[in-house]
Each structure stands twice: as structure tokens, then as C-alpha cells.
Amino acid sequence: MAASANVLGVFAHVDTTVQAIRDLRAQGFSDLTVYTPVPVEEIEHEIEKVRPLSAVRLFTLVGALTGTATGFFLTIWSSLKWELVTGGKAPVSIPPFVIIAFELTILLGGLASALAALILGRLPKLTPSPTYDPRFTLDRFGVAVACAPDKVDSVQSVLSAAGAEEVRR
């Protein structure tokens, strides 16, 4: 069902925030957005319970493997282009190429991870979400609930009950 209304509860404390999330879930409100100034393990723990693990690591793995492959391909293929002998070494000598492969593994792996954070985290975010409040980068927690208009009151009650110092829609 399409949510048509947003309710935001602003909290000052971690435990109250966690409480709110629990209660809302209990009430069957699942479409929550939790704002925190810093990552808080309790809150994360609460949210992650119902979510699959982040897919970032997949990006990293693919990036890293691509790097390794590129490293070896580039070195070997380019050495075979001219087959120049230096210092009596065979044109294709793997040990030195391992270094290149290693560096590219790290490089592409790292870039992929960063990319993942952007893509999965929907960044950059061009328009601020309606429920966002600048205090969330300072010292306040926010729990935004998307729900059907007729459920707004019950949500508000849950939030205030949990200890929200401010509730607005």
C-alpha cells in the first residue's frame, strides 16, 4: 500500500529511539527511516534485524578480482607485444607482474567499494527528504514513519509514548 503521509519523531536519546523503533515494528509499521548523527550500534542492530546484509562487499569482490585479472593481462600481453629481453630475463616473468596485479586489485577493489556506498546509499541525494532535520547531524535522532493517512495518530502516539521530545507530520 502506498504511504501517503510521513510522521517524524525527534529523539534525544539512543534508548528512546530504539524503543520507538521496536514499538512501531510491533504495531506493524515497517517503512521507517532512522536518522542518527553517528552510527549507533543499538539502533543499527535493531534495524538490521529485518534486513539482508549490505551488498557492498559484492562490489568490492568483483572490483578486486577485475583488478587482479587486469594486472596480469596487461603485463603479460604488453610484454609479448615486443618480447624485449632485459637483463637476460624472459619477456614474461611472473614475479614482478604479481606486484602490478596486487596494486590493481587494491585499487579497483577500493574504488568499487566507494562506488557501492554511493549507489546503494542513493548518493548523491539531490533533494533533501521532507522529514530530514539539521539537528540530525548534531545530537538528535529521528524516526520517520511513512504510513497511511488514517494511521498517523496512532504513529504519533507510539512515538511520544516511546519518549520523542518532538513529533510532527
Binding site: A12, H13, V14, D15, T33, V34, Y35, T36, P37, V38, P39, V40, E41, I43, E44, I47, E48, R51, S54, V56, R57, T60, A64, L74, T75, S78, S79, K81, W82, L84, T86, K89, P96, I99, I100, F102, E103, L104, I106, L107, G109, G110, L111, S113, A114, A116, A117, L118, L120, G121, L123, K125, L126, S129, Y132, P134, F136, T137, L138, D139
Partner: protein, 454 residues
């Protein structure tokens, strides 16, 4: 005892709001003293640039290089700067994985130092090259004639190692900055706000953003960790892979890595102590932090001393005439001052940190750090210049004399580093808002319910 004025708030029980305030304070309009410093640094940099221009014009001969010292102060300083970077990565990546909570107060500055140090180091291969306008030939770029770099050359390994290191450090650095910049955005107004808004990428700290962010950050840290060991190992290969007596040694990789971290920590202290004083961050960079860093410096120093002994021992024990002659020449010939200066700065001086008093005494710490930096520069100088000056072939043995040109360029490189750093601390949070908050006690209503959590 510290000559610094008694800190305003020595309590580490600052609230989250304090953190925002204390950090955001630092990016306010700077004062005249700051501008004075900036001018001085900029002027020095200008001299350096002029010297480089002159060198490009008349040729690398303008620098004091010669046969046999075809490498000299440029490579010395290159290795020096690369080394500086390492502490930053160590603090931000390795200590992150080890959950060493004290790192949070210093890691932002350390990371900035890393990025700028690597950028500075990156200049030197260019400055050093006889035809710098063709330096891009070291890059593997597709071209019609299939002319590719020689992947067996340690210099090409350098290209990859350093560009990777730089990229990863920069990414890691920026990723870490995003939430803090968001905080800056929310607390600033006008054009500043707009600019920060762009850099913050619309960060809101929603759970959606945090979960991927945290995961990515962790993985980046995991990837950056091997770099701490690999980058300087590769740099050390420039020497270890060569034939030159005193260079051709399996000792070099760990030897260089340790030295790098050693010098890096010294540089961190050199940068952090003044910031702590000027920004009044005693609440965040406490004696505990100084103590920890001093300990790390001490440990790396002791390890380094061990390597020094190994170096001399292997030279003697190998019975290799060239190796022995080389060490003997370093210790007794025209560069002896640098050799013994190195031992003094890197092995003896840090021993004062055995005393806890010294470890938390900012003045002593500062002096030690400066000496360590000098010592580590001398170490690289000793490897390169006297090493080459007394190698296999007696016919060409000779003494290298610095010229005005190369000396000016070296000094200029320091100016270049500091202009970047000074610039940074005035526009960006040089203390991590988010991570400092993280380690502060989280605001709880019912403290009991979560008492004794981690």
C-alpha cells in the same frame, strides 16, 4: 612540564553538541597570524617553483647530480614523503580495524597528512626525471605502436604502488569526510552552506545511508591495510632490486616500512601538537593520545635500531668486500656526519620516550619528533648518496655537492606540503565530528539499562 596554557576544558565528557561547536569553530574566518604563515609558506613555495623552472630550462645538471650519484636529494626526499604518509594510513585503517578508539581524535589530521604527503612525494619523480615532459611514458596508456612500460622495472612498480596508494587514501579520506561536511552544511549559512551541501552529497545520516557507508568504510580500511605494508616495500625495491652495495638487500622492505611509520608518527605529532594548542582541543587530544603515539614512535624506533644493526652485521658477516667497503666508507668518509647523525636522531633520541613524563610532555615530544624527521631524511640520504658514492668502481668514486637549485626545490616541497595542510584545516573539519562523537558516551535516558556497554 607543558609550556602551553592550562586547557579550558580538560574534561573528556564533552557533549555531542560541544564536538560540533569545537570543530566547526576551526573553519571560521582565520586570523592575521594564519595569513602571515600562509604568505611565508607561499613565498617559499614560489622559490621552489622558480628553481624547478630553472632546472627544466638548463637541464638536470643544475642539480648537483653526477657520476656516480645519479640519484641524490630528490629521491631521498621522495622516499621521505612517501614514508610520512604511512602513519596516516596506519592510524586510519589499521587502528580502525583493531578498534583502537583513541585513534578517532587524530585520524582525520593524520589522513590529511597522508594525502598531502603522497601528493608531495608524487612531484619528485617528475622533478628528478631528465626529461620530465616525457614522464607520462611510465604510465601504461594505449598507443598506436604498442609502446608499453617495462613492468619489470621497480620504477613502474612505484608508479602503480604510489598512484594506488594516493587514490585509495583520497577516497578513504573523502568518504570519511562526507558526514562531517554534512554537519558543517547544517551549521553554516550562505555560500559556504551551498558549497558544503555539494560536497556532502546530500548526506542525511539515514539508516539507509549509514548501513552501506559503514560497510564500505570497513572494506576500504581492510583494503588500505595491506597498502601500509606494500607501498613502502615497493619503494624499497627501487634499492633492493639494484646491484649497488648497501642497496642489494632483502632487509629493505620491512626496514623501510618500519622507518616510514616511525617518521610518519613523528610528523603526526609535529602537526597535531600545535593544532591541539591553537584549536584548544585538549578535550579531544588528551595526554592519553600523546602517550599512545609516543609509545608507537618508541617501538618503531627500537625496531629500526634493530634493522640498523642487522644492516651492518650482514655487511660484515657476508664477507663481501664491496658491502664492507661501502659501510666503512659511510661511517668514516665524507658523509660520516650524516651517518652518525642518523643514529643519534633515530636510535638515541627516541629513547627518552621510555619515561612517561617525556611521553606526555609536549615540548619534549615536539623536539623528539623534529629530530626523528631529520634522522629519517638522513637515513634515506645515507642509503642513496654515500651508497652510490662508494660502490663497485673506484675510478668513479666521488662526492656529491648540493646546489642552490636542488636545495631550493627540496625546501619548496615542504612549503608545498604545508600550504596544502594549512589550507585544509581552515576549510574542512580536521577533527572527525562523527567518530569523536562515537566514542563519547551516547546520550541515554535510562543510563542503567545500557550501563557497561562496550
Amino acid at each position: 612540564m607543558s609550556t602551553l596554557p592550562a586547557p579550558l576544558s580538560t574534561t573528556s565528557q564533552a557533549t555531542w553538541a560541544d564536538v560540533n561547536r569545537d570543530v566547526i569553530r576551526t573553519v571560521s574566518m582565520p586570523g592575521d597570524r594564519y595569513f602571515a604563515w600562509m604568505c611565508l609558506v607561499a613565498l617559499t613555495l614560489a622559490c621552489g617553483v622558480a628553481a624547478w623552472a630553472w632546472q627544466i630550462w638548463v637541464g638536470i645538471g643544475a642539480a648537483g647530480k653526477r657520476t656516480p650519484q645519479m640519484w641524490a636529494m630528490y629521491i631521498t626526499t621522495f622516499v621521505f614523503w612517501i614514508g610520512i604518509g604511512h602513519a596516516g594510513t596506519l592510524i586510519s585503517a589499521v587502528l580502525y580495524l583493531f578498534r583502537a578508539r583513541w585513534r578517532t581524535a587524530i585520524y582525520r589530521g593524520a589522513e590529511a597528512m597522508t594525502v598531502f604527503a603522497v601528493i608531495t612525494a608524487g612531484l619528485f619523480p617528475l622533478i628528478h626525471a631528465g626529461r620530465m615532459w616525457f614522464a607520462y611514458w611510465l604510465m601504461p596508456y594505449p598507443n598506436q605502436r604498442y609502446l608499453w612500460p617495462n613492468f619489470k622495472s621497480p620504477l613502474v612498480w612505484d608508479v602503480f604502488a604510489i598512484s594506488t596508494y594516493l587514490t585509495i587514501s583520497v577516497v578513504f579520506f573523502i568518504v570519511g569526510l562526507v558526514p562531517d561536511v554534512a554537519a558543517l552544511r547544517d551549521s553554516s549559512t550562505g555560500i559556504k552552506r551551498k558549497i558544503y551541501a555539494v560536497i556532502a552529497l546530500g548526506w542525511e545520516g539515514s539508516d539507509q545511508q549509514w548501513r552501506h557507508y559503514r560497510r564500505a568504510y570497513g572494506l576500504l580500511a581492510a583494503l588500505a591495510t595491506p597498502l601500509v605494508l606494500s607501498v613502502h616495500s615497493v619503494v624499497s625495491f627501487d634499492f633492493a632490486m639494484a646491484l649497488v652495495p648497501g642497496w642489494h638487500s632483502t632487509l629493505f622492505a620491512p626496514f623501510f616500512v618500519d622507518g616510514a611509520i616511525f617518521s610518519g608518527f613523528a610528523m603526526v605529532l609535529v602537526l597535531m601538537l600545535p593544532m591541539r594548542y591553537l584549536f584548544d582541543w585538549y578535550a579531544y587530544i588528551t595526554d592519553r593520545h600523546l602517550d599512545a603515539m609516543a609509545k608507537l614512535t618508541l617501538v618503531t624506533s627500537l625496531v629500526l635500531s634493530y634493522f640498523y644493526i642487522c644492516e651492518v652485521f650482514t655487511a660484515w658477516y657476508s664477507g663481501e668486500h664491496f658491502e664492507r667497503a661501502s659501510v666503512f666508507a659511510k661511517a668514516t668518509k665524507e658523509y660520516a656526519w650524516a651517518y652518525w647523525g642518523m643514529y643519534f636522531c633515530n636510535c638515541l633520541v627516541p629513547l627518552v620516550l621510555l619515561s612517561r613524563k617525556a611521553r606526555v610532555n609536549t615540548v619534549i615530544l615536539y623536539v623528539v619528533s623534529i629530530l626523528v624527521l631529520i634522522g629519517m631524511w638522513l637515513e634515506r640520504f645515507n642509503i642513496i648518496v654515500p651508497g652510490l658514492g662508494h660502490d663497485f668502481y673506484p675510478y668513479t668514486w666521488g662526492t656529491y655537492y648540493p646546489t642552490v637549485t636542488d636545495s631550493t626545490i627540496i625546501v619548496g616541497s615542504f612549503a608545498w606540503f604545508f600550504i596544502l595542510f594549512l589550507g585544509f584545516i581552515r576549510v574542512m573539519p580536521s577533527l572527525s565530528i562523527v567518530e569523536v562523537k562515537e566514542v563519547l558516551p551516547h546520550p541515554l535516558k535510562h543510563a542503567a539499562s545500557h550501563g557497561g556497554h562496550h
